[in-house]
Structures are given as structure tokens and as C-alpha cells.
Amino acid sequence: MKLIVPVESKSLDIPVCPSFGRTPLYMSFDTETGNHEFLDNSAATSQGGAGIKAAQMLVDHGAKAVITYRCGDNAAQVLNAAKIEMYKAQDGSVSGNIEKFKSGKLSLLSEIHPGFHNHGGAKE
């Protein structure tokens, strides 16, 4: 399955990026093949709704899980609706976090922070 981690540059030896919606890149790791690729985050420079746009991109990409330090309310709603799980990143490298994910040592992200605009979020 495709596991996503926000990163500041194209490397697996760096920490997980502290921002979700405005990270410059996402690393997409295929847990079955062990291959990975880097996706540009076009939402990073958005005026508003960056989290929503970023989440849409990950949905389109076929992501199944995300490892991140934090996630805004709007992005979280999109990810939840698309049944993409969010795991809380830990200090250390991206590869370190992936190993922890594989051995079930990462917990689910529980604190979702209010975004730029927050008032009951999305309606269908």
C-alpha cells in the first residue's frame, strides 16, 4: 500500500516535515515493493485551503496512510472521508518512522488542529 510522509527535501534520512498542508514534498513509499517516489506539493503556495488541496492530491494518488506530526482540520476531514489513516510522526528520520510503522509502533494521530478557517468544516 502507499504510505505518505511529508518531507522538506528528497531524502529518507531527514526528519518528517512539521507541516502537512504546506510541506514542499511528499514521499510516497510502497510497502509491498519497498520503492519510493517524491511528489511535489502544489498546495504549498496556495492562498488558502492548502490542506484541502494537498489531501485531494493524496487521495488521487491512491494513498492509504499518512505519517505526520500534525494535520489541519480541513485536511483531516478529507483524509478521514477517504479512509486514509493518519499516524503520529516521531522524532528521527523518515526511514526510522517507516520501520516503526511496519512494526506497529506508531500511534494514530489524535490531535487535529483548527485550520485557517474552522467552523464545523465541510458539509456535503
Binding site: 504546506r22 492562498q47 489541519g72 483548527p114 485557517f116 474552522n118 467552523h119
Partner: protein, 286 residues
């Protein structure tokens, strides 16, 4: 980085007075002015170097190529912001939505980059001060506030504490400044207006799940109302962590481009120093 944000609801209660004092007292290494409509903090911070300025691009604005325009009027008809009149686009009304660009049958309209403000970064002697000035009539101030905070985190990644001077009101720039901060200090004034607006800002803080505390500035202008404020806050379990007396020294300090902290023996200076100790030791550490 622990972020302390100073808000008020009502304007003129003393946010910048308190923020600048906290910055002096804490020998602050990282601070920001998020009142991008009317930034004032830089006027009372000592020893600032020249800032590095960057253009801030807000939403793009639409522009009509008059040579291609066939004057069908579809753009004006479909603009929800009333920005198009007689085939010309109002700079202040246009919100960059792109409807006119899309609907024009001859592609005579394009979206162009628009500088809606200046980002400013003061960096010297290990201190980082991030601020911005929105150009007149611009919207999208929330995004600029977010950019100011990001600039601070980027340029001072190792700082333990950041003090942020907020803007008045409860709208977009305030909401953007609350996002991601650890604690909000609300500066209230003991007037009917001050109390009314303080209630709305407390509500806004709660709405966004951020802990807050209140301090009452110029409390002796109306001690009855100051007491009312205290009861109200106690009822909501919002701590009232101090009272600052009305003190002419504040105006004197501001007009000399100084923080009130430069007058530590003044009544206001003493009160603010005590509030700083309280907030730092009891709410920010650990």
C-alpha cells in the same frame, strides 16, 4: 517553540504596549507582529536594523485585454463581486476568482500576479522579528498572517519562545494568528465596549481550542467594570493574571519609540513585569 499570542478583541486596549514590554523583559529572540493591517510593534522595539523586504503576492487579479474584448458583457454579468464596470476591472473589488477569465468567449481576460503586501524580516544580533504590511484595500490578510508566522518559525527554528502581537477584531487575521499557538493573552479594558469585545475574543479562542488568560489594562479607569470582567472570566475558568493601572508614562514611552519596560519603576512598568513573571512561570514553561 512555544508561541504566545496577544489579542484583545477591541482595538486600543494595549496589545502592542504589553507585547513590546514582554519582548524587552524576556530579552526575546523571536517575535512577530501579526497586525498586518496596521503594524505598530516595530515603532517601539529597540535597535532594529533595516528589514529585508519581500513582495507578498495575494490572490491574482483579473485584467481585460481591451483589444480582444468584444464588449459582450458576460464578465460583468457573472462577477459576484461587482468588480467589473464598463469592461474595466476594479483593483480593490476583484477577488481573483477567475470566473471572468473562464467565461470570456474570446479569452480576453487573464489573471495577473498582484502584490498585496510587503513581508518584512528584521534579523540582527541573534534576534528575529517577522512582520508585514498589507497594502491598502487588500483582502487575504489571513494568508499574510500565516506567512508572517511561518517566516518566524523558519528564521528562528531554535528559539524556545516566540511572542506574537496580534490584531484587533475576531475575523480572518485573528483566526489565522490563533492557529498553532500555545497560549493567548487577552488584554482587556474596563469599559462596556472593552468587556463586550473581550467576550467575543474569548469565544473565538475557545472556538479554536486554545487556552487563554486575561489581563486588565487601565483598570483604574473603571474599577467596577474591572471587577465585572474578573467575575465573568472566573465564571468561564479563564484566569485573570493581572491588572495594569492607567499610567501616562506609557504614552511618554511610545512617543519616544520605547517600550514601557524601559521605565521599570513606573506603575505600568511594574504591573506588566509582574504579569510577565506570572505568565512565563505558570503558563508557558513546561
Amino acid at each position: 517553540m512555544i508561541k504566545l499570542l496577544i489579542l484583545s478583541g477591541k482595538g486600543g486596549t494595549g496589545k502592542t504596549t504589553v507585547a513590546s514590554a514582554f519582548i524587552e523583559l524576556s530579552k526575546g529572540q523571536a517575535f512577530a507582529d501579526c497586525d498586518v493591517d496596521a503594524p505598530n510593534l516595530h515603532l517601539v522595539i529597540s535597535q532594529l536594523s533595516e528589514p529585508a523586504k519581500t513582495d507578498y503576492y495575494g490572490f491574482g487579479k483579473a485584467a481585460i485585454d481591451q483589444e480582444k474584448c468584444i464588449r459582450c458583457g458576460l464578465c460583468e454579468e457573472n462577477c459576484n463581486f461587482g468588480a467589473i464596470k464598463e469592461f474595466s476591472i476594479g483593483e480593490f473589488e476583484c477577488e481573483g476568482c477567475g470566473v471572468c477569465v473562464e467565461i470570456c468567449p474570446v479569452q480576453a481576460i487573464t489573471m495577473i500576479d498582484h502584490v498585496s503586501g510587503d513581508m518584512m524580516l528584521y534579523k540582527n544580533d541573534g534576534r528575529v522579528f517577522s512582520t508585514a504590511q498589507l497594502k491598502m484595500g487588500s483582502g487575504a490578510s489571513g494568508k499574510l498572517v500565516t506567512a508572517v508566522k511561518q517566516q518566524l518559525t523558519q528564521e528562528a527554528p531554535d528559539s524556545e519562545l516566540a511572542i506574537i502581537d496580534g490584531s484587533p477584531g475576531i475575523g480572518c487575521p485573528v483566526i489565522a494568528s490563533i492557529s498553532g499557538v500555545d497560549f493567548v493573552l487577552i488584554v482587556a479594558e474596563p469599559t462596556i465596549s472593552g468587556m463586550h469585545d473581550m467576550k467575543r475574543i474569548i469565544e473565538t479562542s475557545k472556538h479554536f481550542g486554545v487556552s487563554s488568560a486575561v489581563c486588565i489594562n487601565k483598570f483604574d479607569v473603571n474599577e467596577d467594570t474591572a471587577n465585572e470582567i474578573e467575575s465573568y472570566c472566573n465564571g468561564l475558568s479563564v484566569p485573570v493574571i493581572g491588572r495594569i493601572p492607567y499610567d501616562g508614562t506609557v504614552v511618554k514611552a511610545v512617543n519616544r519609540c520605547q517600550s514601557i519596560a524601559c521605565y521599570p519603576d513606573s506603575p505600568a512598568g511594574k504591573a506588566i513585569a509582574s504579569i510577565w513573571d506570572n505568565i512565563y512561570n505558570n503558563y508557558l514553561r513546561g
